[in-house]
Subunit: 534 residues, 2 copies
């Protein structure tokens, strides 16, 4: 686009000539509340002018990191176990935010503001391209093309209220939303007239909704969830004033069913509300749903005394396409399932799909006349664009498309695991998962560049359809280089992560011997179908 480039160049040219930016920052105005008759403030403090409003070209490469502990950061908790723990926080954004400036009266004539904004946006897009290229740590599929939907951005699409009951507000996308919900209800084996659901803003909203439904069904129920559950699960318990019990996990990250049985038995006079993970956040572990249900029954729980919410944020959409994987199905006594839309499917904005039983939702909903609809969602106004993105992707890819992508992701996850193992890194890959857990790199610059999510001594890479073998190769090379750079005396220092991944997967000098060559069997490579496609 030549116009954009010209504008950008013009703006930068002006900048390099030292022309002062004469825009008034609202922060410099003496009174913010401008009544109709009052003139705009004329004084502009020098500090405001000196600040450049363009984002720095590559801020992530020179991060200002802040180390915080339990005692600072304000009332925050420590780690999940309640112990204080130090960890590196991202830098404070206040230093380089893009201040909003009051337009000049002659802006339309000079085109100055337009040029400034175009320049900001052009630079921002460059950063986005760069950041999208180097991304491994979060489970977001960045590979999508919604060009056909670009024009929808002209409309304020809002599915306020219930997806199934049309509101008086006409600019909605319920016909797409219900299509998507039908697809998922069918995937999880619940009949059309027996399910209710909606498209949420994110995985957290799904968990907040599922657990709220559980609490409304069983008001004095205790929430059980493994330590490795997403932080939103315990947040929900706190918000909803529910008693919550943290259950231990196995090394894999799965819920420890022995510990669950014990804790459940101790509290068996109270109903149980369970959060079951289908793909934990850090290790991608899948809780054993069938065993959990069996334990509930053995301890004496009838189906009216427990409620199971399935947090399938990432893996909820992958697992149906993997042979031998445990099945998520409403034919089992579960109450709700949530999955994220911006993760495996890919979507410009976060969103999720929530499916629950119709009979449960009646405990939660209220009819709202103002909406001419029902209030059974957490949010009121709801993004009407997200359902169209999901509808578009599901239609395009279908079951067959997802199946292929899941296979490629799991194959690539095995590829990365192989490479890291060969390069002598501690590494673990859960059966059927595409989340590769490995030693946390010592280089913070590398963590930021590849946007790795870290916890304690481990980091992970989540292999999404947007992650190619080429990207993984480049990553492994940089990882090795960074490790070498930190080895002052030529001896490569390998962290012991035995507590996080077990002796079979730790590469430190003490545990290296335990690493057997038959690891592919342990990791269930025979459970998935491999294709030769790259």
């Amino acid at each position: 686009m030549p116009v954009m480039t010209e504008v950008l160049e013009a703006s930068l040219l002006k900048k390099s000539r030292g022309v002062p930016d004469s825009r008034v920052s609202p922060c410099s105005a003496s009174s913010p509340l401008l009544a109709a008759a009052e003139p705009l403030p004329k004084e502009i403090p020098l500090e405001a002018l000196k600040k450049t409003v363009l984002p720095s070209p590559a801020p992530a490469l020179s991060p200002v990191v802040v180390e915080i502990t339990n005692s600072c950061g304000g009332g925050g908790s420590g780690d999940e176990h309640g112990h204080p723990r130090k960890f590196v926080m991202g830098r404070n954004m206040h230093g380089n935010c893009l201040q909003i400036t009051e337009p000049e009266l002659n802006d339309k004539e000079t085109g100055e503001k337009e040029a400034y904004m175009s320049a900001v946006l052009a630079q921002y897009k460059e950063i986005l391209v760069e950041k999208t290229k180097f991304h491994l740590g979060y489970p977001y599929n960045l590979d999508f093309n919604y060009g056909a939907l670009a024009e929808l951005q002209h409309f304020s699409i809002n599915n306020l209220g219930d997806p199934f009951i049309e509101s008086n507000y006409g600019v909605h996308s319920r016909q797409f939303e219900v299509g998507v919900l039908d697809w998922f209800a069918h995937l999880w084996e619940l009949e059309k007239d027996e399910y209710w659901g909606y498209i949420t803003n994110c995985g957290t909203e799904g968990n907040l909704h599922g657990i709220l439904v559980g609490r409304e069904v069983l008001p004095d129920g205790i929430l059980y969830a493994s330590r490795d559950s997403h932080y939103s699960v315990f947040k929900a318990a706190r918000m909803y004033r529910m008693e919550a019990v943290k259950v231990d996990t196995l090394l894999s990250g799965e819920i420890n069913c022995d510990d669950f049985r014990k804790k459940l038995t101790d509290r068996k006079d109270k109903p149980a509300i369970l959060n079951i993970n289908v793909g934990t956040t850090v290790k991608g572990a899948v809780d054993d749903l069938d065993l959990v249900i069996q334990i509930l029954k053995e301890v004496g729980y009838t189906e009216d005394r427990f409620y199971i919410h399935i947090d399938g944020a990432l893996f909820g959409l992958m697992i149906p396409f993997v042979k031998r994987a445990p099945k998520v199905s409403f034919k089992k006594p579960i109450g709700s399932v949530s999955v994220s839309g911006h993760k495996f499917m890919g979507c410009p904005m976060p969103c999720g799909v929530q499916i629950t039983r119709m009979k449960h939702i009646n405990m939660l909903s209220r009819n709202v006349e103002y909406l001419a609809s029902r209030d059974a969602t957490i949010m009121g106004s709801r993004n009407g664009h997200a359902p169209i993105f999901l509808w578009y992707t599901l239609n395009h890819k279908g079951y067959r498309g997802f199946q292929k992508e899941v296979q490629r992701c799991i194959r690539n996850a095995h590829y990365l695991t192989d490479c890291l193992r060969e390069a002598n890194f501690g590494v673990m890959l859960n059966e059927l998962s595409s989340t590769v857990v490995f030693e946390r790199p010592q280089s913070e610059a590398l963590i930021l560049k590849w946007q790795l999510a870290c916890q304690g001594k481990i980091a992970h890479a989540v292999i999404m359809p947007s992650v190619t073998v080429e990207k993984l190769d480049a990553f492994v090379v940089e990882l090795i280089q960074a490790r070498n750079a930190f080895s002052a005396d030529g001896n490569v220092r390998i962290q012991c992560i035995v507590e996080e991944v077990g002796a079979n997967n730790c590469a430190c000098s003490l545990h290296r011997g335990a690493r057997v060559n038959s690891w592919t069997k342990d990791l269930g490579m025979d459970g998935v179908h491999m294709e030769t496609e790259s």
Copy 2:
């Protein structure tokens, strides 16, 4: 765009020739969980083929409306007073949803699926254009042009976690978000180092956050809110297991401070958490913040024993630009303010701005290592596009632009009020508001066409920048026509809405005499500046 048109025509042509749609609906597959080796189901039930997947051209004009009461609709409440009340719900969406169909293996070659989807989207866009044209009932400014931001749709922008602490995920827009937050903190007079905030998904999230902060600050506090508060306020109390007290309202929709004083005094041993409306949903009323604070002090509440959340969903951004309007300011003892971004500002998707005091947020936040950030928001993943839209609008319009728009809206609201009054409709306009309340039309078709929000005997039109005088003229003509059509014997039937709007504003035969010519004074016309611009 010729290409789009051709594709649409080709698809419709094929349809008219009776070519059957051979796509497999997932709902017809016998097993939804397709493991790698299983073939796709071949059988396609006839019912699936018979269903047209394109939305009907103008569904809102022939609505299937369902009347429900307290007893049906499943566990729903009645009206806000706890009494059962009948009201018309929107139609069930399941009938005309857009089913997702499995792609054919040769779709890429035939282009059939692409043509189908283009046709659906083209028809959908037509509906959106039509629906956007006739919209009066909800406070959404549909007049925006974000063409410059179209390319951002290629990126998965996610501001997960805290806006001020950069997460490891690099594809974010925090630099824009913090710029927007600074602007609002300044508007509401809170220093940079004393505020915390974030961009939410909608007004409901703002209320959920504000009330949660209040509860964390005052754990045994009672929530007080007027009957006319948004439904999310009482939903919050239910979610958070808080004691909630509904306070009566005046005819205008403002909180009844006498009733508040009485109810507060009765419970003065407990701390108070208040929701104060700056623009109620139905009548656009502004609660008297200063009087509420005065009463709290008179009843003996020190500032550490109450928390005030301001729900400024619509009017929070309009009120600063209206002379003589009560001031929303953190120089007063308030805890948080929320405003919607998709309402007066206009945004393709719902969003909102939440500002609170830094000292309060520390009660709520937890540090989450996985994010390398802090968890103090309701949602985890957060839409990174919305902040850029808001940043773009604020930069473009500035204080001066908003001021002009607010003036035009209030002027047009007075214009509509005048027209309706002259045509002998019962009508009310609150001082400083742009929400015009009037007799609910008898024609459901008209309500749906103009997308009016209704409650009991009244409806309202919210005059946003996208509502022109021409649109209002067309609306009034149709309203009069519809009323005449319902007058079988030539006698126009005017509903008595004295309970909703008072004798001064009711047009029924009993109260018509009370309507005085000096109504403009009552409505505070001298409080706003009028311009001659249209």
